[in-house]
């Protein structure tokens, strides 16, 4: 595993080509690092620093500033539940609490099967479709707990079938 792996070459090059300064590619490259390692690992930071010709301190600083980079390991499905005001007016806080209970996790925690990490986040620009969340940065909107439970079990079943339900 490495960002220097050939399969990232074209993507990294296309990002580097966008900017007059390599340093500007740090954000897209941190996403790639997160994709590669499942989180923004120290090694990922080091590799991004090498590619962007930055001190690793600066890369870590960028990674720490933004909420979408995780400096901790995550479950396979990273659920960002909006509990901001418009969603909260439409039951998002209850939805989030029930989701936590269903998965048996605290804020920021990962379910025992290692599949689901849940966090509450600020407004995701889907206020008219509350409650909603993003799973791995893709929208899931107009939710309720019944839909969520079904989705969760579907994912569990999928992975069970694939024989990799445990550990992450």
């Amino acid at each position: 595993m490495s960002l220097h792996d050939p399969r990232y070459k074209a993507r990294i090059a296309s990002h580097l080509a966008k900017y007059p300064d390599r340093r500007s590619a740090v954000m897209p490259l941190l996403y790639i690092a997160q994709e590669e390692y499942g989180w923004v690992s120290p090694r990922g930071i080091q590799e991004v620093a090498e590619i962007c010709e930055m001190d690793p301190t600066q890369v870590k600083s960028i990674a720490g500033f933004y909420t979408m980079y995780s400096e901790r390991t995550k479950g396979r499905y990273w659920l960002h539940v909006c509990t901001d005001l418009p969603c909260a007016l439409n039951g998002a806080e209850t939805f989030y609490r029930e989701l936590q209970e269903y998965l048996g996790v605290e804020e920021g925690g990962t379910s025992a099967d290692g599949l689901f990490t849940v966090e509450h986040v600020m407004c995701l620009a889907a206020c008219d479709k509350a409650p909603m969340l993003q799973c791995n940065f893709r929208y899931m909107e107009s939710l309720d707990m019944e839909k969520m439970k079904a989705w969760i079990e579907e994912k569990r079943a999928e992975l069970e079938a694939a024989g990799q339900g445990q550990g992450a």
Binding site: M27, A125, F137
Partner: protein, 435 residues
């Protein structure tokens, strides 16, 4: 009348062929036949004001760009992160080419060398969509090298943020694009000035909605645009309606439409059950749901007259069941989470306010605590490096002034619990005599 949300009327408008079949990129062709200064004049004449929140006249902003700089940029602010705002998302999903075309017209007008579209990180899918649109536009000669044979080249790039409200602030957005920490920087120099923009080059920063208006203005003329809306607020506006609303969503209406028409006629609210309205997401002053408020036209000037702002027109409606102390806490948590930490009053103030509000909501507050948060918020306002400090102060100051009872209800000592406080009572602050 839809100038922007045309995606609702025209299926597959995100496809270049469909967009072109509906007049797409004709405005760019028209602009390229004009002198850049003429394009700026046309946009100035249209009275188009920035839709990101500040309402600054777009054409005037463009005219600040120095003409002789070899490198200039357009940065499209697609970091839509204000609580309750989801208009740019729909514009970009439904009508992406019109925004790209608008950005390119702006780029021609200032003779920019590149366009960067800064998307909030959560718009990952929109990033993919726009990348596809840009590639299509480039292949058709509307973007990239030698646009429409004019000899002028201007590539368009997308850049994803990663979850930071502050990157919607223009100088923080430029810093973030440059790969440094996304914190606001001192202005002047402003982005439009050499030294203040992207990579220190003169840069126009405009919101998605602002630029999406531009092709229509070029295509139909400034006069036609001025004919929509009010004297000082020309054109339509996409209003995001959310909260306690039967029919939440985006509504594109002429500026100056009364709030009542939007909320009652379109969104289906019961005018008798509106306790409060946040007209500009979390950041603008809250107003009560009175008739006076409901009868106010949704224009920059009228909302200012009401003591609030139109801002990004993200209208959050709260019914009579809502406790405004909870709202203040909710919005404060947003700004506490989103404060970049660079300047003292915002970094420390948001944290402090959040702590006190938590205590008040937990029933552990004292009457002085309400005065305290009001005073702390007022001490933040007007003293911070960027506007976020003011935004964070607003929900406290205006919820307390409009709904004092909601706060007092939490801090009145309950008779049976009256006993000596565990800690010494906090007194009012000592005032130092001025020298």
């Amino acid at each position: 009348m839809r100038l922007l949300l045309r995606g609702r009327d025209i299926p597959d408008l995100h496809e270049l062929s469909v967009y072109q079949a509906n007049g797409g990129y004709e405005a760019l062709k028209k602009a390229l036949a004009m002198q850049p200064a003429e394009v700026i004049d046309e946009v100035k004449a249209s009275g188009l004001r920035g839709r990101g929140g500040a309402g600054f006249p777009a054409g005037v902003k463009w005219s600040f760009i120095p003409q002789n700089e070899p490198i200039k940029y357009v940065a499209v602010n697609a970091d839509e992160s204000e609580t309750g705002t989801f208009k740019d998302r729909e514009i970009m999903e439904g009508n992406p080419h019109q925004m790209i075309e608008g950005a390119l017209i702006c780029a021609w007008a200032i003779q920019a060398t590149a366009v960067y579209i800064y998307l909030r990180g959560e718009f990952w899918d929109i990033g993919d969509l726009l990348d596809g649109c840009i590639a299509e536009a480039e292949a058709a000669g509307f973007a990239g090298e030698n646009i429409l044979g004019s000899g002028w080249s201007c590539p368009v790039y997308t850049h994803l943020g990663a979850g930071a409200y502050i990157c919607g602030e223009e100088s923080a957005m430029l810093s973030s694009l440059e790969g440094v920490l996304g914190q606001p920087r001192v202005r002047p120099p402003f982005p439009a000035q050499k030294g203040g923009g992207l990579y220190k080059e003169a840069t126009v920063v405009n919101n998605v909605e602002t630029l999406t208006n531009v092709p229509w203005i070029l295509g139909n003329g400034a006069e036609a645009f001025r004919a929509i809306g009010t004297e000082q607020s020309a054109g339509t506006k996409v209003f995001c309606v959310s909260g306690h609303v039967p029919r939440p969503g985006n509504y594109e209406l002429p500026l100056g439409t009364p709030l009542r028409e939007l909320l009652v006629d379109h969104a289906g609210c019961d005018p008798g059950n509106i306790k409060a309205i946040l007209p500009s997401g979390g950041s603008g002053p809250i107003v009560p749901g009175t008739d006076e408020v409901l009868d106010t036209p949704l224009s920059y000037e009228a909302m200012q007259g009401l003591g609030t702002i139109l801002g990004s027109a993200s209208i959050i409606v709260m019914d009579n069941s809502v406790d405004m102390t909870w709202v203040a806490s909710k919005v404060t948590k947003f700004f506490t989470h989103e404060s970049c930490g660079k300047c003292t009053p915002c970094r420390e103030g948001t944290y402090w306010l959040d702590k006190v509000l938590d205590r008040i909501l937990a029933g552990e507050g004292k009457p002085e605590d309400v005065q305290l948060i009001d005073n702390v918020a007022k001490n933040m306002a007007g003293t911070t490096l960027c506007a976020l400090g003011d935004f964070a102060a607003n929900p406290i100051i205006h919820t307390i002034s409009n709904f004092p009872d909601d706060f007092n209800a939490h801090v009145q000592p309950k008779p049976e619990e009256e006993k000596p406080a565990a800690s010494a009572p906090r007194r009012g602050r000592r005032r130092r005599a001025s020298a």
